[in-house]
Structure formats: C-alpha cells, structure tokens
Amino acid sequence: MGKQIYKMTVNGQVKEVMAEPRELLIYVLREKLDLTGPHVGCETSHCGACTVEMNGMSVKSCTVFAAQADGAEITTIEGLGDPDGLHVLQEAFKEHHGLQCGYCTPGMITRAHRLLQENPNPTEVEVRMGIAGNLCRCTGYQNIVKSILAAAAQINAAKEAAE
C-alpha cells in the first residue's frame, strides 16, 4: 500500500505525516509524532487507553485509520496541560488518588475532559456512564469518579467567580 501525506492539527500544531492509509491513528501519534501519552490496551475499542479527542469527540485512536484523521483537529493528554500549569483534571486525579499504574490515566483524563464539555455538571451516575468506555484495572473507579466530580466542581466554581 502506498504511503500518503496526511495533515492534522495535533494539540494546536499542524502536523504532516507520511503514512499508509491502513495505519492506525494511535500508531501515527505514538510512533510518528512521539506522543506516547495515549496507550494501546486492547486494539478492539474496549479499553479506552488510547482515547484522544478528534474534532470535538472522544475517539478510540486504536480503531481510527490515519486516513480518517486527515484534516482533523486532535487533542491528546499532552495537549491538556504542562508541567508549568496542569489541567484541573490532572490536579484532581493527583489529589484524589485517581490513578495507580497510570496506564489508563491519559485516556481516562482525556475522556473526562470531553465529558465535562458535554455535561459540565454531571451526577456520579452520569460520570460512571460517561467513562464506561475507559477501563481501569487498578483503582476500582471510585477515586476516578471522585476526581472528575471534584474537577467539575472546581471548574464550575471558577466560572461562577468569573461571571
């Protein structure tokens, strides 16, 4: 299969990559753009370790072809915060022990980020439903849910204060 050039905006930067159409987005991100935050856990869309945002939606990048991502706007965990300014969700996961081995964490936080765009004030049940596509083997989810609810409260409080 011939290689083609695909152009995508990744974490705010325009990137051009040479890839076969069949190459998966997770492969392009990890191997060609050195964004190793998203992980591979199952390759069948079940575990969500590879979750990124594509055009304002959470997608499992292990089952999106590079060709499908041509022209897309993509955000990975690396685009959410940096050492000088962590995202509220990153801080909340640290504060509430929302992670252990860390393997699901980039996908989980990226998913939570989108969830809070979709529903800025979710209930516990809505958070649990909202992250049902992201598996974690370590935490039992209780502290992940707590982290996301705490982040939502903090974001909402900051919004209110600004208004």
Binding site: T36, T44, E78, Q100, C101, A132, Y141
Partner: protein, 807 residues
C-alpha cells in the same frame, strides 16, 4: 507567633510525611501528563519488531513450516523457528516450577496460541503481514481440556518429551499426564475424625481459570551491544533481578554483562512474574541481527498464552460437632496446569501456599493434597493479585463454611465466630504447618457485623423471602460474608526460593551532603506507589522528609538484588529491608551527632528529625547537619559518607486478615445483580499510607468482582479459547463497579520491623468469596448449596431456573 519560634515536635513530625500519612503520590505528576515510560514507549535507534506465528490448534503435530514467502516480503529480516534456537539450546526453557517449556514449537503444539515461529521485521505492520505469510502444515491430535479426562488411562499422551514413569520435579508421576501429588497434614487422622463426626459437609468447588489481564500487556526490548558485549533488556518484569539471572543462565552471557530494566509497568497482578517466549525470542533476535528488537503482546496473545490463574477443582470435606465446633478439614485439589507446568510458586511449594486453607479457624486436624495435571491449555498458574494459591484456599474454606452452616442449619456469621482462632492463641500453629504471627479476628468480625447492621439485614432478608413466596417481588437479597486470612511476604530463605534464589529483599540508601537521599530497592512498583510509600517508611526511620527522598527500583545495574514484587511481598520484605537499612543510617548518625555535640554516643537519642542530648533537648543536631558533617569532617573512628544497605531475610510470613460483607440484590428473572453495599474491613498491621491502602482495597475488590461475577478463560472441547478478547473476557467498567466502604483494625506484625503486613492482595482474596457467597446466600432459603463461578447473568438465571423459581 514570630518566625523564630522553633517548630514543635508535632510540626517537625508532620513535615516528614512519614508512617501513617496520606501522602500524595510522587508518581502521579508524570502519569497524569502522559509522560510515563512504559516498555512500548521505548524507542532505540535501528529497532526491529518481532511478532509470533501462533498455533490455531490445541494439540497438533507440525508437519512442515515454509517461511519463503515471509522472507521475501520487503522489510522482513528473519523468521526464527525451534531449529534455529536449538544450537543455542534455547528452543526450550526452564519454567519456574521445575518443568520446561517450548520457546518455539518443537515438533508439536500443545495449546492454542502456542508460539511456532518468530518474525522479525522493520516495523509492526510488516511483521504482522509476514506472520500471515508463514505457511505451517499441522496434523491435528486429540485434544484434552478436562483435567479429570486427562488422567483417564487411555488419555492421549500430551508431553511426549517426558520419559514415561520417570519422576517429575516434585516427586513421582502416576500417569503420563500427571505432574505431581503434593500433600500436607495428617491424612489418616483427618479421615478418622471425619468418618466418626456428628456432622459432615462435602462439596466440590471449582475456581475457574481466569487471567490477570493488566491493561498493559507483556513486552520486552532486547538490545545486544556487540561492541561492548553488553545485553540490555527492558521489559514488563515483576522480578527484574531474577530475569537477569535467568537470562544469564540461558544465554551464557555473564551476569555482569546483562542489564535488565523494568520501566513503568502498566499493572502486573501476577501476569508479569514469569519469563515468556517473547522475551527469549527478542533476546535471540537481537543477538542474531545485532539490532534492538521489540516484542509487545497484543491483547489476544496476552489472554491466550501468558499467565492464566486458578483452574482448581477443590473437593472438600469438613466435619463438626452438632453445635458447630469444626473438628476436621479434608481437601483434595485437581489442578489444571495446562501444557507446561509454569506455575510461579516458590520451588518447594508446587501448590503455593494452598495449605493456608484452614483459613481463620481453629481446626484441630486437617489434610490437603493437590494433583497437578497436564492439559491442552496455556501454561501459567500465576498468583493473580494474591499470594501463591491463597485466593483458591480462601475461596475454598469460605465456601465450605457456608456449606457447613447449611448442614448445621446455623447462621454462617455465628459459625465463623465460634471457630475463629482466638486472640490469645497467637502465634498460632495451624494443623497444616503454618505459624500465624498475629490476629484479632473476633474484634474485626464484630466491628464489621455491627457496621452493616447484620441482624437487621437478616430480618430484611427473611421478610424478602416471604414476600417472594407470596409473589410480591422477584428480587432476592444475598448477604455475602467472608473472613479471610492471607499469608504473604514470601519469604524466609530457609524454605522459600525461586530458581534457587532465596526470597529475601533489599534496600540501599545514600544520604546526600545536603540532607536529601536516594534509596534503591530490589522490588518494582506496578502501580502500588512504592516511590511514595517506601520514602515514608524511611522518613520516619531516619528523620529526613519523604519529599527529600528519591526511591528507585527496577534497574539491575543500580538497584540491589531482590526477588521482586508479587505475593504482597514488597512491604513485608523490601519494606522491612528499608527500615533496617534506615536503622543502620541512624546508628552511624548517632555516632556523628555525639561527636559533634561532644558527648558520649549513649548520651544522645533520636527525636523525629534529629539527635538530642538526653535531658537537654535544646542541644541537638538535625539529620541534615549530621549528613553534611559526614561528608566534610574527619570524625575519629568513623568512615566518611552516610550510606547503608540491608538484605532482609524475613523470619516468618505475615498474615493480614479482614472481614468483608457484601449485600446483593438479585433479579431472579434476568439473573442480573446489584451490589447494594460492600463493607471491607482490612487489618494489614501498621498502616503506612491510608490513602494508598484504600486505593489498593478498591482495586482489589473490583478484580474480585470481575472474577466472581463474570471472568473466565473458557475453552471448548477442541481446545479453542472462547474468551480471547475484551469482548468476551469480563473487565468491569465504572458502571458495573459498586461503591465500597473501607474500614480497618490495626494488629501489627510482631516480627516485622515496623509491624506492616502488606495489603495489595487482601481485597482480591477476601472479595471473591464475599461476592460469591452473596449469590449463594440469596438462594440459600431455596436449597442452593454450590454453584460454580463466574456468576454471570446466565448462570444466576440458571440457578433460579434449576431451583424451580421460574415455574
């Protein structure tokens, strides 16, 4: 308050963030930013990728292998077969259990997914394409997936490589598919008591084959530097130092020329203890090609070929007096080990610590025997989030107690209470040979039952049964009880080893001149938070803030030798080594402090973060001052620097315990369940970091939920794995997972330097019986005695149907 007010003792202590503090984890900064460094993140210049051709059959002879088409594909560098590894004697490898295992199929395959050939290519896509191009011709052989059928006289011979009639690693083999019979206890005395007992309960209890399934699969990157003769091996290793020794023994490369690195590990749960063909093939491929070679399992590889757990068929007989005092326990296990005996157990214990199966109870006489059997299934037999075979033992006794309670027509909580080992019986010598170090079961049990209002729950349950019989509801209420005793922290070198390596562990500490420190350990975290909690142990021991202590593990070039992290051994063994090394630092610091304060060594004492002159606390030297002095002053009779190392050989195991209650609603018509309440009381001795402990309990309970309610590695009669992807293999999401309430009592271990016992695996050991007992308990009023896990919707519906509840 002015700034010159010296901090109080409490303030100084709080600044250390030592034992008992819910210190936030230092690992989290990198993980939350996607900056972890897992094995698949490693990229080396010129790196190649390996992938396996795997057997589609459960049992077959290999007639021919044709690699021409694969080799012709651009980008393919090599295709390795058994015959290529044979000159190096690497086509087979020793297992942890004293057996041997094919690295690549040598003439036949014995389980579906078995490694047949290893393709090495420029990238993963080319490797995967080439795997498809390798042509293998098989001749199918009869398949045996049932361990009982495997022992039939006319069963097919699975292991043709083993000499007929010859002993195995653990004694005589009585059949060509038999591996060992391992026994403990007094069989004749046990049978005599049971035969003449007032009440006897008998049951066959199956603990199904499952898989640890960490979110990160197994993998390795081998890099042979031919210029310097050094092999570097990165990988998902729960025991990196043992891997180095094994790699040296197998490859003939001297051990100092091998560096093994476990980078961040995305969960282990036992899956990453063993040595797998992929690791060996990546090493050989790197040696052959002179380039780094990466091998990463995909999820199907992981579920189908590495590290199953359980698969124990446990036949139990338990006897008691009419008023419920247990008099004897008899256990016989038929253990399905798959095609090769690759169980990860200490050498002398082919059935692990299954003989902890008398549980929390004072049982005067007992016997257990375990028969290991070969079948056409994947090898493994790892301790999936438990100490060796302890989950099986806990499930067995906690089910037998429930069955006995039915036989006695007695409340199961009360039956437990009257048989618990009493507080004043510790140290307690069990009938199967263990010395339980400490415990206070009655206090924990009473606290648990009160917390859930046990009496109230039983009343509600009785009313529910009546309402069900009247047709007013289709839901039943189950109250799942469990009191478990674990045995962890393997273990004393006198009886615990892995491949001859004694199961000690180690810690090496260096204090820097400005009063911060680095400590290196022989263990390796896979999410447990060692970098956080081991620094806390040290902070309390040496008076340097945990935030000023770096913890490093997993690089065999820098860390002291240790046996690794599994079986909840890190805190009991490496945690003890950490405390002991800290005490050596403190002893030297005392001499330095005394010199600086111009008093005798015995006239100073340790006080949180300093040494003070006895009776004159205003005269002191802080640990930072002492550290500096150790590097810049000539102190008579004392070597410069401040370092220590400790290799700790534990005198005994530790025995964490806990009391769990699960309250479950069951829909009789759909077989669905809802966990209404789960209360978990754990006693892990001294608590290092309560936040981390709670996190460990949540996670372990969720893995227990998975096992009890849905998880199974299932085979059909042809030897096909029916649950090879996450579509079929159950991992709970946030929706199925209930909310947990955690609680604790604190009974320190008397022989551990800080009294800690380990906790990571307790919730899995105790959780599985609690969930399963809840299902059984819901149907107890209708006569259900035993129904095997997993209790998925279909099986629960089937229980109700078999009991006539749908009529």
């Amino acid at each position: 308050m002015n700034d010159l007010t010296p901090p109080t003792r409490e303030e100084r202590s709080a600044k250390l963030k030592g034992l008992g503090t819910s210190r936030k984890r230092v690992e989290d900064a990198r993980f939350t930013q996607g900056k972890g460094n897992y094995v698949d993140d490693i990229k080396l210049p010129g790196m190649l990728h390996g992938d396996f051709v795997r057997s589609p059959y459960g049992h077959a002879r290999i007639k021919s292998v044709n690699i021409d088409a694969a080799m012709a594909l651009p980008g393919v560098i090599a295709v390795l077969q058994a015959k290529d590894l044979e000159p190096l004697s690497l086509h087979w490898m020793p297992t942890l259990a004293g057996d041997k295992q094919m690295v690549l199929a040598d003439g036949k395959v014995l389980f579906q997914g078995q490694e047949v050939a290893f393709v090495v290519a420029e990238d993963r896509y080319i490797a995967a394409d080439a795997v498809e191009l390798v042509e293998v011709e098989y001749e199918e052989l009869p398949v045996v997936v049932d361990p009982f059928k495997a022992l039939a006289p006319d069963a097919p011979v699975l292991r043709e490589d083993l000499e007929a009639g010859a002993d195995g690693a653990h004694g005589p083999r009585r059949h060509h598919n038999h591996i060992f019979l391992w026994e403990e206890g007094d069989k004749a005395a046990t049978e005599q008591v049971i035969d003449s007992a007032e009440v006897v309960a008998e049951e066959m209890i199956c603990y199904q084959r499952v898989h640890p399934c960490p979110l990160e699969t197994c993998g390795s990157v081998a890099s042979m530097d031919k210029v310097n003769g050094k092999l570097t091996l990165y990988g998902t290793f729960q025991a990196p130092h043992v891997v180095r020794t094994v790699a040296s023994l197998l490859s003939g490369i001297e051990e100092h020329n091998i560096r093994v690195v476990s980078p961040d590990i995305g969960g282990g749960f036992g899956n990453k203890v063993g040595v797998y063909p992929g690791y060996v093939c990546s090493i050989v491929a790197s040696i052959v090609t002179g380039r780094p070679v990466k091998f990463i399992e995909d999820r199907m590889d992981n579920l189908m070929t590495t590290a199953f757990a359980r698969d124990y068929w446990m036949k139990g007989r338990i006897s008691a007096t009419k008023d419920g005092k247990i008099t004897a326990l008899h256990a016989h296990v038929t253990a399905d080990h798959g095609a090769f005996d690759a169980c990860a157990d200490p050498t002398k214990f082919p059935a692990g610590f299954f003989h902890i199966c008398t549980g929390s109870y004072d049982i005067p006489v007992a016997y257990c025997g375990v028969d290991g059997v070969y079948t056409n299934k994947a090898p493994g037999g790892v301790a999936y989030r438990c100490s060796f075979r302890v989950t099986e033992a806990a499930y067995f006794i906690e089910r037998m107690i429930e069955v006995l309670a039915m036989e006695l027509n007695m409340d199961a909580a009360e039956l437990r209470r009257i048989n618990f080992i009493k507080k004043d019986q510790f140290p307690y010598h069990s009938a199967l040979g263990w010395e339980y170090d400490s415990g206070d079961y009655h206090t924990a049990w009473d606290k648990a039952l009160e917390a859930v209002d046990y009496a109230g729950l039983r009343k509600e349950q009785a009313a529910r049964v009546e309402a069900f019989k009247r047709g007013e509801t289709r839901k039943l209420l189950g109250i799942g009880l469990c009191h478990f005793t674990e045995i962890v922290g393997a273990g004393p070198v006198k009886n615990c080893d892995i491949l001859g390596m004694g199961m000690f562990d180690s810690c090496e500490i260096r204090i820097h001149p400005t009063g911060s420190a680095i400590a290196r350990l022989g263990t390796i975290s896979q999410g447990q938070g060692h970098a956080t909690t081991f620094a806390q142990i040290l902070a309390t021991e040496i008076g340097i803030p945990a935030d000023s202590i770096t913890i490093e593990e997993g690089d065999t070039d820098t860390a002291p030798y240790g046996l690794g992290t599994y079986g909840s051994r890190s805190t009991p063994v490496a945690g003890a080594a950490t405390a002991m090394a800290g005490r050596k630092i403190r002893a030297k610091a005392q001499m330095i402090a005394a010199y600086l304060l111009e008093v005798h060594d015995d006239d100073v004492e340790f006080d949180v973060d300093r040494f003070v002159v006895k009776g004159a606390p205003e005269r002191f030297k802080t640990m930072a001052e002492i550290a500096y002095a150790s590097y810049n002053q000539a102190i008579p009779g004392v070597e410069p620097g401040l370092e220590a190392v400790s290799y700790y050989d534990p005198p005994n195991m530790t025995y964490p315990f806990g009391a769990y209650v699960c309250v479950m609603e069951i829909d009789v018509d759909t077989g669905t369940h809802e966990v209404r309440q789960f209360y978990a009381l754990d006693d892990c001795g001294t608590r290092i970091n309560p936040m981390v402990i709670e996190g460990q309990v949540h996670g372990g309970l969720t893995e227990a939920l998975a096992i009890a309610m849905g998880q199974e590695i299932a085979y059909d009669e042809m030897g096909n794995v029916k649950t090879g992807t996450l579509m079929d293999f159950f991992l709970p999401t946030a929706v199925e997972t209930p909310h947990y309430t955690t609680d604790f009592t604190e009974t320190p271990s008397p022989h551990h330097p800080i009294g800690a016992k380990g906790v990571g695996e307790s919730p899995n050991v105790g959780g599985v019986p609690a969930f399963s007992n809840a299902v059984h308990d819901a149907f107890r009023a209708f006569g259900l005695r035993q129904s095997n896990m997993p209790h998925d919707h279909w099986r629960i519906w089937k229980i109700a149907n078999d009991l006539g509840l749908h009529d």
